[in-house]
Amino acid sequence: KMASISEMYDVGWEEMRDKLRKWREDNCRNSEQIVDVGEELISEHASKLGDDIWIIYEQVMIAALDCSRDDLALTCLQELRKQFPDSHRVKRLSGMRLEALERYDEANKHYDAILQDDPTNTAARKRKISILKAQGKSTEAIRELNEYLEQFVGDQEAWHELSELYINEHDYGKAAFCLEELMMTNPHNHLYCEQYAEVKYTQGGLENLELSRKYFAQALRLNNRNMRALFGLYMLAGRGTKENKCSMKAVEEMLESMQITMS
């Protein structure tokens, strides 16, 4: 059998617990790692974790589903069910397990039951939309997500999900609209600027390419290590006019200063 995590990395249970917390806070989806660390923590140090154990069970359960570890997911779920028998939060986790097992109808029943009890439960609504996505029903997923956003207009995660769905449907205009919403509420986020620039570039045409250039430049201003923005500018720069030749030179100089060659 493989060495334990604590042996391999020479860490104690506190460091393992803290690592799990960091991954929770950063919303990382490194499920294989979470399963490795979490499974060991739970099986060998459960008694030391105090009330943290419940949120760790939830985190490990979701990661286990991601890795097709239904055995581990079920163990965590059963502990949570015992402790929180009437919880909507735990019911959502049961639903997620059914989703992982592709038992979508049963999963939907769970979420519908939650929504009957609590119509404002956003988590359940998002799971229902995720099911539509998993089933390849993009049009319905888009429609439901639009309806959701009419009610919960500040939900960043939902706006970004919608932009992704639109990009996959090649509906660049609507994707751009979603990214505009995100840029308005997150003016310092270089990733939204850069994604918006990529969408504009893809749409093509003089006006859109001009906007693309503007937003790649903005992304670079916000984060001068954003390589996509840098290359985006580079590609837009070499397009004919004298003004563009100047910006091409500026980009080349920037590339040189970062010691990157284009070969």
Partner: protein, 205 residues
């Protein structure tokens, strides 16, 4: 249309690419170091994206850079591969057709390869791939009998072994290269590993 041969190295890198990003749609370019004419021998591949496949700028950038690299290394771009995030649907998307069309402009016998995620588990013994070729400006399903994977059992075994050892974590696609410019999208390290694991009898690496 003619025969297509898929090398061990090309298959394994595509396989590892899809294993590295199981929740994303992924794509990449198929390369050949063999002279034109006769069967198309796909000897290598360059993993490209795992996000925003339909968006143009990074795809164009990757195509340009791979083109330059190919001309320096006596290779050419002969095809395109893609694996969809949604496992139940392995048909080519609009963007797959677009990119494949572009490649076909430069190479008559270009191939479009879709990885079938649903058939990648260990219980399936046949290659989880579906190939298309261009006939009358449309992409048509290729006759399975014109697709060759030499030493398939061995290739399959190496792929599983590398996945078990976590070697897929070593794979670099163009997206990852843009996140960390020092990463090598030609994947020389992985090529070496694959060559080491393949038996000396398999000349078609």
């Amino acid at each position: 249309m003619g025969e297509v041969e898929l090398s061990c190295r090309a298959y394994i890198k595509m396989f590892l690419h899809s294993c590295l990003f199981p929740r994303c749609s992924i794509n990449g370019l198929l390369l050949s170091s063999s002279p034109a004419g006769g069967a198309v021998c796909v000897t290598d591949c360059v993993p490209m994206l795992h996000s925003h496949l339909p968006l143009a700028p990074i795809t164009q950038l990757a195509l340009t850079q791979v083109d330059v690299w190919c001309s320096q290394t006596q290779q050419r771009i002969v095809g395109y591969y893609q694996a969809n995030a949604c496992v139940s649907d392995s048909s080519p998307t609009q963007c797959a057709l677009k990119i494949a069309d572009k490649i076909a402009e430069q190479f008559d016998n270009a191939v479009l390869l879709m990885l079938d995620g649903g058939k990648m588990s260990p219980d399936y013994r046949v290659p989880p791939i579906v190939m298309y070729e261009r006939k009358d400006s449309r992409w048509m399903l290729k006759d399975k009998h014109t697709i060759m994977l030499r030493q398939w059992e061995e290739t399959r075994a190496i792929a599983s072994q590398m996945l078990e050892s976590g070697d897929h974590m070593l794979l670099v696609d163009f997206d990852s290269h843009l996140d960390d410019i020092t990463k090598d999208w030609t994947n020389q390290k992985l090529n070496t590993k694959i060559a080491e694991l393949a038996s000396p009898a398999n000349g078609n690496i």
